[in-house]
């Protein structure tokens, strides 16, 4: 019987000819990524709870400090130091302050056909390159680090057939939020979201990352695109080669199929406190905001910064708004610097930070106060995610966020008047 891309990747990693939904397989992991959200716990368990502490293959490991950067407290600093010292001692690739983990993984590591565990839920991002990336906890990560392997329940796959092309002023983020609003926050629980169709061909790797990244917000185990010419060219430009390039078989089994016409997608926003509470952006216009955030592993790439900069250029951020602009990585930052985007943001009155997770993870940098409202290109709008439990987070596209920062209230880019 035919297999989906996800099933093929698992079969290859398990060293079996066939994998089908519902099977449990022991798989060899190609890579493991761990960030400062949990690595200190993994390191503690490694030292304190293992009878035979060892690392199967240090070269499979990547440690990335991105959540609280620069550090905001001695406790944060101690957690990061633990991670740094461990990486140094064991020869593990270590990145600090160079960007959000998923962006760094995509820029430097991920290859089509790989099976990757990351101790972060948005590890599903790697499907943009035809890899199977999925988020795990720190115990799973530890198990993988020690053995080089783990167990996987082969997930069912949902097919998302994309047709048409996004209109001007509508972005992949609008598309993905629309999909999540449509299928709900648990609409793809335990399942793979496979994106295909002509519409997929209109999307760049960066665009695909936006879609895959948010798949976990629909409960998905991962999301995946076929590693087509667009993906392979992207990979080649970065000097990497695929592990394996898979297509889903004609007779592969899908648990469900959806079709989305890209040309029908409108700018949308997710309302507090659920990612699937998605409405047309126009419906939330007029909500006064205190802060706006352009960044994150979902929407902090060069294309997003270009969109944001084109909107704030020649304009000033509203007096009562703090507009945080946080490029997703050092590469993105340097490109933005080269293109003059950083200067445009600075000129407009924005707060431009070093690449890191920033207020998307909501623990320190850019934290918002009691009853404050944030409009964000981040991944989540959970209750209190960005600060005080009474504060509210709206999610929107880079364009909507930048326009709202200028206006001082939620608005779409086309509503800005000069």
């Amino acid at each position: 019987m035919g297999m989906t891309i996800a099933e093929k990747i698992i079969a290859l990693a398990a060293g079996v000819p066939e994998a089908k939904a519902g099977d449990i397989h022991t798989v060899n992991l190609d890579r493991m990524m761990s960030n400062d959200g949990t690595t200190h716990l993994t390191v503690d368990m490694y030292h304190n709870r293992l009878k035979d502490p060892r690392i199967a293959e240090p070269k499979k490991m990547v440690f990335i400090v991105d959540h609280n950067v620069p550090s905001d407290s001695p406790k944060t600093a101690a957690a990061q130091k633990k991670m740094r010292d461990f990486a140094k001692e064991h020869g593990i690739d270590f990145w600090e302050g160079k960007g959000v983990c998923h962006q760094i993984m995509m820029e430097h590591y991920v290859c089509p056909g790989e099976l990757i565990f990351g101790a972060d839920s948005h590890t599903c991002t790697y499907g943009a390159l035809g890899a199977f990336g999925t988020g795990v906890g720190c115990t799973d990560l530890l198990y993988g680090m020690v053995t080089g392997a783990s167990w996987v329940l082969v997930p069912e796959t949902i097919k998302f057939n994309l047709t048409g092309k996004l209109r001007e002023g509508v972005y992949p983020r609008d598309l993905m939020l629309t999909i999540i609003g449509n299928i709900s926050a648990s609409g793809a629980s335990y399942q793979v979201m496979e994106f295909c169709g002509d519409g997929a061909k209109t999307l760049t790797v960066d665009d695909r990352m936006v879609l895959c990244n948010l798949a976990v917000e629909a409960g998905a185990k991962t999301a995946i695109f076929e590693a087509d010419e667009i993906a392979l060219n992207w990979l080649k430009e970065r000097g990497r080669k695929p592990k394996a390039v898979f297509k889903s078989d004609e007779d592969a089994v899908y648990v469900k199929e959806y079709t989305f016409d890209l040309s029908k997608i409108e700018p949308v926003a997710a309302r507090p406190d659920f990612v699937d509470d998605v409405v047309p952006a126009k419906k939330v216009c007029g909500v006064r905001i205190d802060q706006a955030f352009l960044g994150s592993c979902n929407n902090g790439r060069i294309g997003d910064l270009r969109v944001g900069a084109s909107i704030v250029k020649g304009r000033k951020i509203s007096d009562h708004v703090r507009f945080l602009v946080v490029p997703a990585s050092r590469q993105v930052y340097l490109q933005a610097l080269k293109e003059g985007l950083i200067d445009i943001f600075m000129e407009s009155g924005a707060i431009v930070m070093n690449p890191n997770c920033s207020v998307c993870w909501g623990s320190c940098q850019g934290v918002i106060g009691e009853n404050e409202v944030l409009i964000s290109t981040g991944t989540r709008n959970f209750k209190g995610r960005a600060g005080h439990p009474s504060s509210k987070v709206y999610l929107g596209s880079a364009a909507t966020v930048a326009a709202s920062a200028v206006k001082g209230e939620i608005c779409t880019a086309d509503m800005l008047q000069d």
Binding site: A119, V216, R380, G384
Partner: protein, 160 residues
């Protein structure tokens, strides 16, 4: 298993509510556990006693991969989490650290915070307010991890 009090939460209960980001980098789970469910039930850590149950609706534990979420519940002595459905990373994490997570479609709608319940993992049944509910049984592979006391215990078994 013994009788415990129920703390009930809503659908799509996310990991940020179980333990907020700002506490994740505290040095130990024990320091974090005081902040469990802080945004929803500021007194949760003070009120919960070992053997109590957390009951959720659909998609319990959605959001981030923070293992601190099941970690703080286990550290507070929560006997099991019972929900209509679970988000997958939370589910996997809970099993990996030896915290029973039980799928039960009917029970959540029939109970409220403060009610008592009883759970039998071996029978796959739960009792609350004089009624018995059947629960979905764990796949054998996961059952085994759980019965060994979690993934690290099973790893240490292999080290023999």
């Amino acid at each position: 298993m013994s009788v415990g009090k129920i703390f009930k939460f809503h659908n799509d209960l996310d990991t940020d509510q179980i333990i907020a980001s700002q506490y994740l980098l505290l040095p130990t789970i024990d320091e974090m556990k005081e902040h469990a469910f802080e945004s929803l039930e500021p007194d949760f850590a003070a009120k919960v006693t070992p053997g109590d149950f957390v009951v959720g609706g659909e998609n319990f534990g959605c959001g981030s991969s923070r293992e601190q979420a099941p970690g703080v519940l286990k550290a507070l002595g929560v006997q099991a989490v019972v929900a209509k459905s679970f988000a997958r990373i939370f589910y996997r994490n809970a099993i990996n650290i030896g915290l029973p997570v039980i799928v039960c479609r009917e029970l959540p709608d029939a109970v409220k915070t403060g009610d008592e319940m009883e759970l039998s993992l071996t029978d796959g049944t739960a009792m609350a307010n004089g009624k018995s509910y059947s629960c979905t049984r764990l796949p054998a592979y996961m059952q085994q991890i759980l019965s060994q006391g979690g993934l690290i215990a099973s790893l240490n078994e292999q080290a023999h």
